[in-house]
Assembly symmetry: C2
Homo-oligomer: 418 residues x 2
C-alpha cells in the first residue's frame, strides 16, 4: 500500500468535506450527532464483536491489563459514548458567533466572526471511545476530522466509524467529514502531521513520548499537552483547614490525572505547624512523601527528595514536598519546575493572592481551590478535547472554541480608503 498516496487522498477528501461542514447549519450538524448516537445504540452487537477481535489480538500480542482495560468497549462505555454525543449536540454552537462589531471613523463596521479551523487531525492511543468524542467535538465546531487511533483498536474504531458515517449520511453531510485511517502502518502518522495543505491542526492524545515525537516532526500546528506537574503552595497566611482540605483533594482525589498535584510547597513560617498535619493526612491515605532537607527536619522519617522529584509527574500516590521562603520562593520554584498546567495558592492574604495569579505563568492559576478543577467540564466549556500546555492559540482546557478561529467581517456601503 502506498501510504503517502492514501493519506493524501484522505486529506483531499477532508479538505473538500470541511467546506461542506463549515457551510452546514447548526441544526444539521446536531442532527448528525444525534443520528450517530442512535446508530451506536443499534450497533451494540457489532461494536462488541469488533472490540472482541481487538481484545483477542491484544491478548495474543501481550498487551498489559491496563491497556486491555482501556481498549475494552463494555455496554456502559457504549452508553457513555451515546450520552456524550447527545450532550455535544445540546451545547451552544460556537460557529458564526459575531462579536466586537463596531463602527470605525472611516464609516466601515468591523467585527469578528467565529469560524471552523478546517481539518483537524487526531492521533490517539488505545481507547476507542476517543473516536466518537473527538469526532463529535470537531463536527459540532464545523470541522472535518481525520482520526488515527491505535492499531490495537483498529476493528473497534472502524465499527464506530461506520456509525459516524451513517449519522453524517442521514443528514446529507459527506461521510468524509469524519475519516478513520484504515491502515495500521505507522507511516500514516508521519504523513498526517506533514500535510499542511490538507490538515490545519493536529491534536495528539496520549503519552508524553507520543506527543513529543509528533511535536518535533509536525509541519502542522499541534495543540499539545505534555505533562501536568501541578503545585499547591500553602502560604503562611493560609487558613489551615482549607489548606489541608485542598492539598489532600489535589493529590488524592485521583492519582492518574494530569491536574493532580505532584509537588506541595509550604511556606517556611508555618512548616513546623503544617507539615505534621499534612503528613498525618497523606500517610493515612497511603501517599508516600519525599521531602527537601528542610521538610525532613520536621518530618524526619520521610525519603529525601532529589532534583528528579521536582520534575516528576508521578501519576501515583507519591508526593514531593518542599519548604520555600514565602511567596517569592514558591513562585520561583513553580516557574522553574511547573509544566505550566495548574498551580494553586492557599492564602487569606489579598496581595499575595493577586501576585500569585499574576506572576505564576501557568495555564490555570488558582486561589484556595483544588488543582483537580482544571478541566473543561468544571470550567463550563461543556466538553474538552484536551488541555493545552502551550501558549499559542489555546491555553488550558480546550473546548469547542479552541477548535475554531475568528475572521474579520467588514460591512461598508461602497466605502473606500481615502
Amino acid at each position: 500500500m502506498d501510504v503517502a498516496a492514501y493519506m493524501a487522498e484522505l486529506g483531499q477528501q477532508a479538505r473538500a468535506a470541511a467546506r461542506e461542514v463549515a457551510r452546514s447549519t447548526t441544526a444539521v450538524r446536531n442532527q448528525a450527532l444525534l443520528a450517530t448516537a442512535d446508530a451506536l445504540d443499534k450497533a451494540r452487537q457489532e461494536l462488541v464483536l469488533a472490540n472482541q477481535k481487538d481484545l483477542a489480538s491484544g491478548r495474543a500480542s501481550g498487551l498489559d491489563d491496563a491497556m486491555l482495560d482501556r481498549l475494552e468497549l463494555t455496554g456502559a462505555r457504549i452508553d457513555t459514548m451515546i450520552e456524550g454525543l447527545r450532550q455535544v449536540a445540546a451545547l451552544p454552537d460556537p460557529v458564526g458567533v459575531i462579536t466586537d462589531m463596531t463602527y470605525r471613523p472611516s464609516g466601515i463596521q468591523v467585527g469578528k466572526m467565529r469560524v471552523p479551523l478546517g481539518v483537524i487531525g487526531i492521533i490517539y492511543e488505545s481507547r476507542p471511545n476517543v473516536t466518537v468524542e473527538a469526532a463529535s467535538l470537531c463536527l459540532k465546531s464545523g470541522n472535518a476530522t481525520i482520526l488515527r487511533g491505535g492499531s490495537e483498536a483498529i476493528h473497534s474504531n472502524q465499527a464506530i466509524a461506520a456509525c459516524l458515517a451513517s449519522g453524517l449520511a442521514s443528514v446529507g453531510l459527506p461521510e468524509s467529514a469524519v475519516q478513520v485511517v484504515t491502515t495500521t502502518d505507522r507511516a500514516a502518522v508521519g504523513e498526517l502531521i506533514t500535510m499542511p495543505q490538507y490538515v490545519d491542526v493536529i491534536v495528539p492524545r496520549g503519552g508524553k513520548g507520543l506527543i513529543e515525537r509528533i511535536s518535533r516532526d509536525a509541519r502542522v500546528p499541534v495543540i499539545k499537552h505534555l505533562d501536568g506537574i501541578c503545585h499547591v503552595y500553602i502560604d503562611s497566611h493560609a487558613d489551615p483547614e482549607k489548606a489541608l482540605r485542598v492539598a489532600v483533594n489535589s493529590k488524592t482525589h485521583r492519582y492518574g490525572t494530569c491536574n493532580t498535584m505532584e509537588t506541595l510547597l509550604v511556606d517556611q513560617e508555618i512548616a513546623d505547624d503544617m507539615l505534621p498535619l499534612l503528613a498525618a493526612e497523606f500517610t493515612a491515605k497511603g501517599v508516600e512523601l519525599r521531602g527537601c532537607e528542610r521538610t525532613r527536619t520536621v518530618l524526619n522519617d520521610i525519603v529525601q527528595a532529589t532534583e528528579d522529584d521536582w520534575h516528576a509527574e508521578y501519576l501515583a500516590p507519591v508526593l514531593a514536598v518542599r519548604v520555600v521562603d514565602g511567596l517569592d520562593g514558591a513562585i520561583d520554584h513553580i516557574n522553574h519546575y511547573s509544566s505550566q498546567h495548574t498551580d494553586s495558592i492557599i492564602t487569606e492574604n489579598y496581595t499575595r493572592a493577586r501576585r500569585f495569579l499574576t506572576e505564576v505563568d501557568s495555564s490555570s492559576v488558582m486561589v484556595n481551590a483544588s488543582t483537580r478543577f482544571a478541566d473543561g467540564f468544571e470550567y463550563g466549556l461543556g466538553a474538552e478535547i484536551g488541555i493545552s500546555t502551550d501558549k499559542i492559540h489555546a491555553r488550558g482546557p480546550v473546548g469547542l472554541e479552541g477548535l475554531t478561529s475568528q475572521k474579520y467581517v467588514v460591512f461598508g456601503d461602497g466605502h473606500v480608503r481615502a
Copy 2:
C-alpha cells in the same frame, strides 16, 4: 564567534527579562516607551550617522535604489518612530484584562486573564524603523523581544537599540527586555527559530521567500503572513457606482500593499455592462488588464490571462479579470486561488452578502468595502505587528492582543472536587 552559544545567551537573558516585564505595571512600560521616544529625539545625530554608515556600505555592495530607500533614516522617519512610540504608549494595555468570570455549579469562580506570550523573536529586512515598531508593541504587551534585522541595517539598528536600552533602564526594566542581535552571521536566524525553550513565537516580516524558509525550519510557532491575493467580486445585484468605486480603490489606492486587489471577479449576468466601465477607469489609471476568455469577448483588446495570473500577487498596476457564474463561481474561485487574506463582495442582495461572509474562508471578508481597509489601524487595533494568513492563534491584522494569550484564573474558598 560561537553563534549558537551567543544566541542561547540572548535567549536566556530574554527569558529572565520576560518575567520582569510581565510583572511590571502598565505605567512603567508606558514610561519606558516615552523615555525611548525622548532618547530617539536626543540621538537624531547619532542615528543619522549610523544610518549613513549602512547606506555607504549598502551602496558599495550594490543594493538597489528601492532597498536603499527603505534603509534610509530621514528626519521625517525619525519623527514617525517617535510619534509611533507615543501612540503605542497611549493604547490601552491588554495585559491583565480578566473576562468571562462566572460562578460554576461547584461554587468556584472561573475566568480568563490576558497574559503576555513571553519572548517574541522578530526577523525582518532592511527598514530600521521596524526595530522600534516591533519592540514597542512587544514591550507594551508585556513581552521580551529578540530582534534580528537585516545585516544591511546593522549600524542603524544598534543605534536604535541604544535608545531602547536607555528607555528601559530609565524605569528600572532590564535592558535585555529588548535585544537586537549584533552578529550579521545568518546562522543567528537558524538558532533563533529553533530555541523553543527561550522563544515563544516568531514574527517574520519580509518577502515571501524569507517567510517560507522560516516557517519550514522553525521549531517555534510562527505568526506568518505569506501573500495577499485579494479579490473583489462584483455581483449581478451590485450597485454599479459602488462597484466601480470599490474596485478602483481596491486596486489603485496603493499597488504595493498586501491588501491590494489582484483579481477582479465579475458576475456573467452583468459582464457586458460592467466590464467596459471598469476597463475605462482602470485604463485611465494606467492599470494593465489580463482577462479570461469570457472577459475578452467583451474587452477584446486585453491580454489573455493564464493560470499563473490567478495565482499572482502582482504588487503592480496589473489586474487579472475573470467572468464567473454568479456567487457560487466567485466563491469557488476565491476559495481555490485566494491567499485567505481579504476578499470583498459588491452586492445589494442580502442573502448573497450573508453567503459570501460565511462561505469565503479568508481572514477578512467584506461587503461593499475596499480590500484596502484590511489593516490593524483601520480595524481599530491601534497598531499592527503584521497580518496573519494563518488560522491558528491570530488571523488577519495582528495587534497587541495577538501578542498575548489567556490563562484561566480560578477563585475558591477552600473548594475541592467531590
